[in-house]
Amino acid sequence: MGRPDLSRRHLLSAAGGLTVAAGFGFAALGTGADALASGADTRVRYWNLFSGGDGANMIAMLDAFRKAHPGIDVKDSTLQWGNPFYTKLAMAAAGNRAPDLGVMHMGRVTGFSPGRLLDPWDVGLLAKYGVREQDYNPALWKRGVIDGKLYALPLDIHVQLCFYRKDVLKKAGLLGDDGRMIPVTSTDEWFDVLKKARAVQKKGLQTIGLWTNDQNFQWWFFVAFYTQLGGRWFNDDNTEVLFDPDKATQVLEFLRRHVTDGYVIPGAPTGEQFINGAPFTWEGNWSVPVFSGAKLDYGATPLPPVFGKQATHAESHAFVLPHQAGRGGATNEGAHELAAYVVTHALQWAAGGHIPAYTPTLSTAAYKKLTPQNEYVSAMDHQATEPKVWFAGSTGVLAQDLGPVVVSSTMGSAKPASVAQTMKRHLTRLLASKNPMDGRTAAQGGAVA
């Protein structure tokens, strides 16, 4: 009894000792297990935030790049979209352990401290790999230029859309001769359309998906309709709040009415409802592959101009170079090459519903044949965007502060008029607050805007 026990104990302690030694060895080495296995000459670490259909497309494009460039090992990592992503990117850059290439939303670039957390692109190097300024919409390219240097290389424009099911709308007599939804130009017309659709839709489903309790979507919709009303945020010098609570109240009441009139089931999963037969849903264009994959007969237009003027919320994904103290060399060149490759091979990306930023793609016959992309490509001409201040941008401080407030109105826990006042208060406070990265307010950060 004693001896086998003893030898087992010896074995256990030997195994334990080995594990401890291996653990410390690894820790001393300091790299992940994966880095040890890689043998390629140049290793480009690339962080992105693409999940769902976008993620699949990005992986397909990366695989194509890998096949064409066997000397470059692309190590891509997908992090959860939203704040975790920006937090991690900022912390990695601040800790000087940033990846070689990253993706950001354009609106976040100004607040992300170009020069401190981001490095500028080498425009000459980009041109060498086929990306030049004249291939871009000038306004879009300029959004990435700060203090005369390019910090963000735009990949696409993505917009909020009104998806509709042609099968349901046809029954309700809401399709025009071209097979597209009849245009809507006022709130009355819009609710009339919803009423007609509800009369013919499958029972038990909602009529429209509005993401009523999602602070991001509600904020984006608010920005779109507030822009349709011609509402402004700040004056040009960013010294004064021009936010109009009356216009805001109109928008909030419009959003709220979808709930009070019973067109929405709050909390119901919007995509699943649409696939199961709900006539409408308002989603980002990234839902295109989901609905196409489900083989639905559907169309997609920009958000209806119910306040008279066309405008829909738009943002752009852009490639950035997170700050590295010793940026340069083959890895940096590899990052340029990879970004240029993805930008110029954007047709695949357009399949994900995004409007390519690289204009030569737009004029190809292949792009013009894409449906429903060809129905909403015009959206890029009337973009509703957040004000160009340091606290704006996708899931930025502005959206974080105002999004939940909009939700509270839509969900009915606060009155639209008082919510509009709350929004104005938040905007006043934010305008006076200093950008923690350089200690300047929006008004003082002239170069940024």
Partner: protein
């Protein structure tokens, strides 16, 4: 017992014992002075680097407008604290953490006690009950939270399906915190359960037997023997739970996809602090909030010590 041992040795060889005692005392003092510091040094080094220094640094940073980049910062005096006092979002976050604590602590204490009583009184398969009630605690917080996020999701979640409900657990502000509380109960009750179980097993049998002889029924035995004997462990369970619950973070962020919950109804104090520091890059302001939080935690801990001392004194 030690005294009796001394007395026997003393009785056998008193003079020899006295001599060795002085020798031992000198040896002990010499050895102690020589090495005592070295025993403590490795721990102290780590402790100073990763506990004391960050605390001091936090105090310093809280008086500056430091940002995440680590660049030189400006001294801003009490501005951060002044701002914090007027920051309604911070008070809301503190409120959420306090509300969570208020819900979780009594539930966990009662549930852990009941589970321990159950496991203690079933005569067969003790290891099985122990395993079943404790196993959730062995899961990483994020894994447990992911499981419940999925169970609670409207439409595809099994909780609504099993109980025939259609509750928007994760998307409505009146349910979101409740969902987090339920997840926390399931995940952490096992630890307090084990503490209670150990305490129950430590109650001497003869107390119960004596009570039985006196004709006390089961209820009386529980009220007059079990509960008083568990007073200390209950104090410990409550104190540990309060401290842990105030630091709510993991479950809440994972179940809410790293957001603040429906209409900002689940953002905890820790989450808000980290958002200020790492999302808004305001390290100075976040440090001020950390210090405020430290004071709150310290007050809770000191209150417990004070209560303990009071009870001990009144008990004597």
């Amino acid at each position: 017992m030690t005294t009796s041992a001394h007395m026997t040795t003393g009785a056998v060889a008193a003079p020899a014992r006295a001599r060795t005692a002085t020798a031992v005392a000198t040896v002990r003092r010499k050895q102690g002075f020589q090495h005592g510091g070295w025993f403590v040094a490795p721990f102290l080094a780590l402790f100073v680097l990763f506990v004391i220094w960050p605390l001091l640094r936090g105090v310093y940073l809280s008086f500056t407008d430091a940002n995440i980049s680590g660049d030189a910062a400006n001294f801003v005096g009490l501005d951060n604290y002044r701002e914090a006092l007027h920051d309604s979002a911070m008070w809301d976050a503190l409120g959420h953490s306090a509300y969570f604590t208020l819900l979780v602590v009594p539930c966990i204490t009662v549930l852990a006690f009941l589970l321990a009583m159950l496991a203690h009184h079933i005569e067969r398969g003790k290891w099985l009950w122990r395993l079943c009630f404790f196993v959730p605690f062995l899961l990483p917080s994020t894994v447990a939270a992911n499981m419940f996020q999925w169970l609670f999701t409207q439409g595809i979640g099994l909780i609504n399906e099993t109980f025939g409900l259609d509750t928007p657990w994760l998307t409505d502000k009146s349910y979101a915190m409740l969902a987090i509380v339920i997840e926390t109960l399931w995940w952490t009750v096992g630890f307090s359960f084990l503490l209670y179980l150990a305490a129950l097993q430590g109650i001497p049998d003869h107390l119960y037997e004596a009570a039985k002889l006196d004709g006390a029924n089961a209820w009386h035995r529980m009220v007059h023997i079990t509960l008083p004997m568990l007073r200390n462990i209950t104090g410990l369970v409550i104190a540990l739970q309060i401290l842990a619950s105030l630091q709510l973070f993991d479950q809440a962020v994972v179940m809410m996809d790293f957001g603040p919950g429906p209409e900002v109804s689940t953002r905890s104090f820790v989450q808000y602090t980290l958002e200020q520091g790492f999302t808004s890059y305001r390290v100075g302001y976040a440090s001020a909030m950390s210090i405020i939080f430290f004071v709150i935690i310290a007050v809770v801990a000191l209150a417990r010590m004070w209560l303990l001392r009071n009870r001990e004194e009144s008990g004597r």
